[in-house]
Symmetry: C2
Subunit: 189 residues, 2 copies
């Protein structure tokens, strides 16, 4: 029986990855109102398979946010090793805004960060905050960012730009000028 | 019959003002999901009276936004006569964010400005943009704001801070530090 269980577990893992991928696509296209049935169809699995991995739509949504944030945090880790800590901090801020614009649901998740401690997301949110803070501290030590810039304001303005970029679908040139203005405010005077 | 109509018209005006005032309070408390029945009850008028003045909930919502924006635009006109054009521009930006935070629905209205031209709001939105632009130009002429700051970025960042202040209910000190950072980005370097 255990011989038979192994390939099943591998199948299950593949199914889970497929459901997550399909759900990302469908949610990006249809927003949070997308049905589990649509996602199952797009993933090519039965509705039962989805519910086995993600008992609720909330669980699926959380898994997607965690997966996206994990990818972004990995980028932050790479940026920390660059030799321009200012560019690394501003670049990561921009990446998060890009992501929010492209992926409707991520902005919602990020906007809630630090305010609404939904079970299962507080851990990845803490990791995201730590990744941002590490880049901020690094940029301040290099003199590229003002010393009196603190995390609450960084998160508040990050949340603000993510929400607006997503909701108003900022064109690329508007986004880059708006962020450049904001970053000038972050620089030492 | 015309003798009877006059007091009725005055009554109607008073009722309309009462409905608008009640609707502002109820919408601030319950958001856009508030029912016409709740608003009628709070205004002390019948449901029929509301529908006579505002045939749809959308019409009522628009009347409230127009009324609020009119009040803000009147403030801008006063600010234009002050002898510190920089403080006037930054002060008006702050007033709009304050208003968005206190009044849930106004932020939604402002966020839509320039993107979604709902009938009946495009005129007041144009007036609001003109009021902001007049203060911006004035502040630039006084050298208090950088010359390369243009209206699209001002409106984008105004919409961003309004949305975040409203949705995340920024505490007063966080809001003032966040806006101070943004305004530093708006100043000549």
């Amino acid at each position: 029986m255990s011989d038979q269980a192994k390939p099943l577990r591998a199948d299950a893992r593949r199914n889970q990855a497929r459901v997550l991928e399909a759900a990302e696509e469908i949610l990006a296209r249809e927003g949070l109102s997308a049905s589990m049935r649509t996602i199952a169809k797009h993933a090519g699995v039965g509705l039962g398979t989805i519910y086995r991995h993600f008992p609720t739509q909330e669980a699926l949504y959380q898994a997607i946010i965690v997966e996206r944030m994990r990818r972004l945090i990995a980028e932050a880790d790479t940026l920390r090793t660059t030799d321009d800590p200012g560019a690394a901090f501003f670049g990561f801020f921009t990446r998060i805004v890009d992501n929010a614009k492209q992926k409707k649901t991520l902005a919602d998740g990020l906007a809630d960060a630090g305010i609404d401690h939904k079970a299962g997301l507080s851990d990845i949110r803490r990791q995201m905050r730590e990744a941002i803070e590490a880049l901020l501290t690094h940029a301040q030590q290099a003199g590229a960012v003002r010393q009196d810039l603190h995390m609450p304001e960084v998160l508040a303005l990050l949340s603000a730009t993510c929400m607006a970029a997503e909701r108003n679908q900022w064109p690329a040139d508007l986004q880059s000028t708006a962020l450049a203005l904001l970053f000038d405010g972050f620089r030492p005077r």
